[in-house]
C-alpha cells in the first residue's frame, strides 16, 4: 500500500494512502474533537457524514477549513489543528449547533453523558452567541422503549447509519430539508406504528439527548415502597460485566457479587438471576432442537432470546414465523416462573408480586408489554430497567457499588451455570445449547465444554460441532443486517445450518442499547466479552442441565422439558407485522 507523507502541527507523519487527517493526527498523538463521526472498528460500523464541522482543521493553501474526519491526507499536505483559525472554527461549529439546541442540560437525561455538552466544555464555549429560530417538535414517547426528542437532534445521522446500514430496519431517515429537516420515521408516524425493533442501537450512538430510553426508575421506587407488593428482581447476564463502568470501575470488571448486594440494599424481596432462566431456556431450546432433528422438524431452528430480533423477523420476514424457536426469552421465562411456581411456593397472590428486570436492552421493555406473554392478564414481567437506569437508581440511593461486599442471589431461582452467563455475548446461547444437546444426543459426558469455533466478534460466523458422527452445523449472526443475510439464505433454500443464533446488537447483549454508553470505544465491548467468558470459567457447573435448582423446578412443577406445562408457560407464538 502506498505511503503518504504529511505534516501536522509541524510533526512529520506517514500514513497509508487513503487515511484521513483525523486518523493521521491520532497516530502522532494529536487529538481532534469529533461529534458526528463514529467508527466502531471491528464491527465495520462507520458514520462519516462530516455534517457537524466540529473537527475542522486548517490545511495550508486552502481557503476553507477542512473536516478532518472525511478529508484524506495527500502527499506533502501541511495541516494545523492548533492554529487560532482552526480552534475558532471548531468552537464556532459548536456555538452554531447550540444556537438551535435546548439549554436544559441540568435536567436532560443525557446530562454528563452528552457529547455535545462535553465538546462545548472542551472548546471553552462560554456563551450562546447567536439567537435564532429554534426547532419545535413534539417528543415521541409512544413506545415502551424509546424517547425521541427531535429538538435535541444535531443531524449527525449516526442513528440513521445504525438503523439503515447496520440493522437494515430502515425506520429512521432524514425527512424534509434545510431548517425543516428532521430525522424520523416515514410520514411523521410515531415510533409505535413503525417496524422499529427497539434494539436501541440508535440510543447507544446518539451523541445528545435526542434518543434516550423511557425511564421507569420512579415506578420501581414506588413498587419498592408499596407494602402490599412483593417485589422480585432479576438481572441479565450482561449487566454484571458492564455496570461497574457507571461507578468508575474498569470495563470488563465482573461484579456479580456486588450486583447481588446492591439489589439487597435497595430492598427487593427476592433477588433472582436471569442466568437461572437462561439455563431454563437451554433446557427448552435444546429439547426443541433435538425434537426437530429427530422428528424431521423445521430446520434450521433460530434462537428467540432477543426481543429486537423477534420483532425484526415479525416485520421483515412474516412468512417465516415457523423457523424461530417457540421458546420465550429468559427474561419472560423468569417472570413466568416467578408469577406461578415461586408465588405458589411462597403462598403469594401473583396479583401482589411485582417482577422487575434489569436488562442491557431497551427492547426488553417493549417485550414485557407484549400482550400475548401475559398469563391471566398479569404481565410476566412488570417493569424493566436498563443497566443505565439501574445505575442511576443506585446513585440516587447513594449506594457505592464499587466498594460493596460481594453477596449472593436467592437460591430458588438464582442458581446458574457457566452456560447461562455466556448468553450475554454473541455465540453464547448456541454454545450453551451445544453443551446440553451434545450430552443429550450422545448420552456421553462432554469433557471439553468450550467451543472456541463459536466465539469471536465477526458479524456472521459458522462452525460445525461433531456430535458423535452427526455434524451439527451452526450459524451465528449479531447485528440485524447480518441476521437478514442468513434469513435470506434460508428463504432461498441455500442455508445448510441446523441451528442459528441471532442477537440484534453488535457483540450481543454486552453491546445492548441499555448498557453504559461506550461513546464509540469498541474496546469496552471486547472487554465485556472477555469478562463473560471469565465468569463462565469460574463456575463449577458449566452445562445448563446440571443446574440443581432447575432440576427441582422440573421435578416439582414443570414435569418434562418441552412437555405440556412447559409449553403453556415457557413457549410463545409470533405475529406477522407490517413493514413500515
Amino acid at each position: 500500500m502506498a505511503i503518504v507523507k504529511a505534516k501536522i502541527n509541524g510533526i512529520d507523519v506517514e500514513v497509508a494512502s487513503g487515511a484521513t487527517i483525523l486518523e493521521a493526527a491520532k497516530k502522532i498523538g494529536v487529538h481532534i474533537p469529533t461529534l458526528c463521526h463514529l467508527n466502531l472498528e471491528g464491527f465495520g460500523i462507520v458514520n462519516k457524514v462530516a455534517s457537524c464541522r466540529a473537527c475542522v482543521v486548517e490545511v495550508e493553501g486552502r481557503m476553507a477549513l477542512a473536516p478532518s474526519c472525511a478529508e484524506k491526507i495527500t502527499e506533502g499536505m501541511v495541516v494545523r489543528t492548533d492554529s487560532l483559525r482552526a480552534i475558532t472554527g471548531r468552537r464556532m461549529a459548536i456555538e452554531l449547533l447550540l444556537s438551535n439546541h435546548p439549554q436544559d442540560c441540568l435536567v436532560c437525561p443525557k446530562n454528563l453523558e452528552c457529547e455535545l455538552q462535553a465538546l462545548s466544555q472542551e472548546m471553552g464555549v462560554r456563551e450562546i452567541k447567536w439567537i435564532g429560530e429554534k426547532m419545535d417538535y413534539p417528543i415521541d414517547k409512544t413506545t415502551a422503549s424509546l424517547v425521541k426528542d427531535p429538538n435535541k437532534c444535531i443531524m449527525c445521522r449516526r442513528c440513521e447509519t445504525m438503523c439503515n446500514e447496520v440493522q437494515t430496519v430502515g425506520v429512521l431517515s432524514g425527512i424534509n430539508r434545510g431548517f425543516d429537516a428532521v430525522v424520523g420515521p416515514a410520514f411523521n408516524l410515531d415510533m409505535e406504528h413503525t417496524a422499529c425493533t427497539f434494539c436501541g442501537q440508535c440510543v447507544a450512538v446518539c451523541p445528545t439527548g435526542a434518543l434516550t430510553e423511557i425511564n421507569d426508575v420512579g415506578k420501581v421506587w414506588r413498587a419498592l415502597n408499596d407494602e402490599t407488593k412483593h417485589v422480585v428482581v432479576q438481572v441479565a447476564p450482561a449487566i454484571r460485566v458492564a455496570i461497574g463502568e457507571l461507578f468508575g470501575m474498569e470495563p470488563g470488571t465482573v461484579t456479580t457479587g456486588q450486583l447481588a448486594s446492591s439489589l439487597r440494599r435497595l430492598g427487593f424481596d427476592a433477588i433472582f438471576d436471569t442466568d437461572f432462566a437462561a439455563d431454563l431456556t437451554i433446557m427448552e431450546e435444546a429439547s426443541e432442537l433435538v425434537h426437530r432433528i429427530e422428528h424431521g422438524g423445521k430446520l434450521p431452528m433460530l434462537t428467540s432470546c432477543c426481543p429486537a430480533w423477534v420483532k425484526f423477523f415479525e416485520h421483515q420476514f412474516p412468512d417465516m414465523l415457523d423457523i424461530p424457536s417457540s421458546c420465550k426469552s429468559p427474561q419472560i421465562m423468569m417472570g413466568s416462573m416467578v408469577k406461578t411456581y415461586y408465588a405458589k411456593k411462597m403462598g403469594l397472590d401473583p396479583e401482589n408480586v411485582v417482577m422487575v428486570s434489569i436488562m442491557p436492552c431497551l427492547a426488553k421493555k417493549a417485550e414485557a408489554a407484549r400482550p400475548e406473554l401475559a398469563k391471566d392478564d398479569l404481565n410476566n414481567v412488570d417493569l424493566v430497567l436498563s443497566t443505565r437506569e439501574y445505575g442511576a437508581m443506585l446513585h440516587e440511593a447513594g449506594v457505592q457499588f464499587d466498594v460493596l461486599p460481594e453477596g449472593d442471589f436467592d437460591q430458588l431461582l438464582g442458581e446458574s451455570t457457566g452456560a447461562a452467563v455466556i448468553f450475554g455475548t454473541t455465540g453464547g446461547v448456541i454454545e450453551a445449547a451445544a453443551r446440553t444437546a451434545y450430552e443429550w444426543l450422545t448420552g456421553e459426558e462432554l469433557e471439553k465444554v468450550e467451543f472456541s469455533q463459536l466465539r469471536g466478534l465477526e458479524g456472521i460466523r459458522s462452525a460445525s460441532v461433531m456430535i458423535k458422527d452427526f455434524e451439527l452445523n451452526i450459524g451465528i449472526a449479531h447485528g440485524l443486517g447480518n441476521a437478514r443475510k442468513l434469513l435470506e439464505d434460508i428463504r432461498d433454500g441455500k442455508s445448510h445450518f441446523h441451528a442459528i443464533e441471532i442477537m440484534a446488537c453488535p457483540g450481543g447483549c454486552i453491546g445492548g442499547g441499555g448498557q453504559p454508553y461506550h461513546h464509540g470505544d469498541i474496546e469496552i465491548i471486547k472487554k465485556r466479552q472477555e469478562a463473560i467468558y471469565a465468569e463462565d470459567r469460574s463456575k463449577v457447573r458449566r452445562k445448563s442441565h446440571e443446574n440443581e435448582a432447575l432440576k427441582s423446578l422440573y421435578s416439582e412443577f414443570l414435569g418434562e422439558p418441552y412437555g405440556s406445562t412447559a409449553h403453556e408457560l415457557l413457549h410463545t407464538r409470533y405475529v406477522a407485522r407490517e413493514k413500515i
Partner: protein
Amino acid sequence: MKNAKDRLVELNTELLDQEKLSVLEGYIEGLEDKAGSLIHVLHKAQGLFGYLPENLQLHVARKMDLPAAKVNGVVSFYSFFTQEPRGKHTISLCMGTACFVKGADKIFKTLKDQLGVENNKMTEDGLFTLKDIRCVGACGLAPVMLVDDKVYGHVKAEDIQRILQKYRDEEDSNGH
C-alpha cells in the same frame, strides 16, 4: 402527530386508483436497474397521480423493496415532488429580497385571502395551488408572480383579482 386511526386511512394503499397503479407497476417491472431508479419511479408516479400522497409513497416503497422512510425522505427533500394535490395552475410568488422589499408579503396575503388557501395548498375548486418561491432572477420586475410559466411583473395587490379571474373565465369557457 395524528391519531393512529386517521393514519391507517391515509396509509391504505387499497384506496389508490388501481388503473394508474397498474401503469406504474408496469413501469417499475420494465426497469433495468430497479435499485437505482427511485427518483424515476417517483417522477412517473407523480405524473400519473398528480402528486405523491403517503399511501402512494408506501406503495412505491413496497414495490421497490425500500424502507418507506427512505422514499418519504427523497420525496420531502426534492422540491419538484409534492405530497399535496396540486391545482391545474400553480401560482408562484417570489419572496426573494428584492420582491420582498417591494411588498411581496402584502401580495401574498392578498392571494391567500382571495384564494382561501394557505401556502402550498390547493384551492377547493382544484384550479390553483399557491406557492412561495425564492428569487427567480427577475429582480427588475419586482414584485414578480408566476402563473405556471407566465411571468407577471410589477404586480400590485389590486391586480390580483383581475389575473385570477382570467384563469377562472378560461376554465368556464372550456365548458366546466
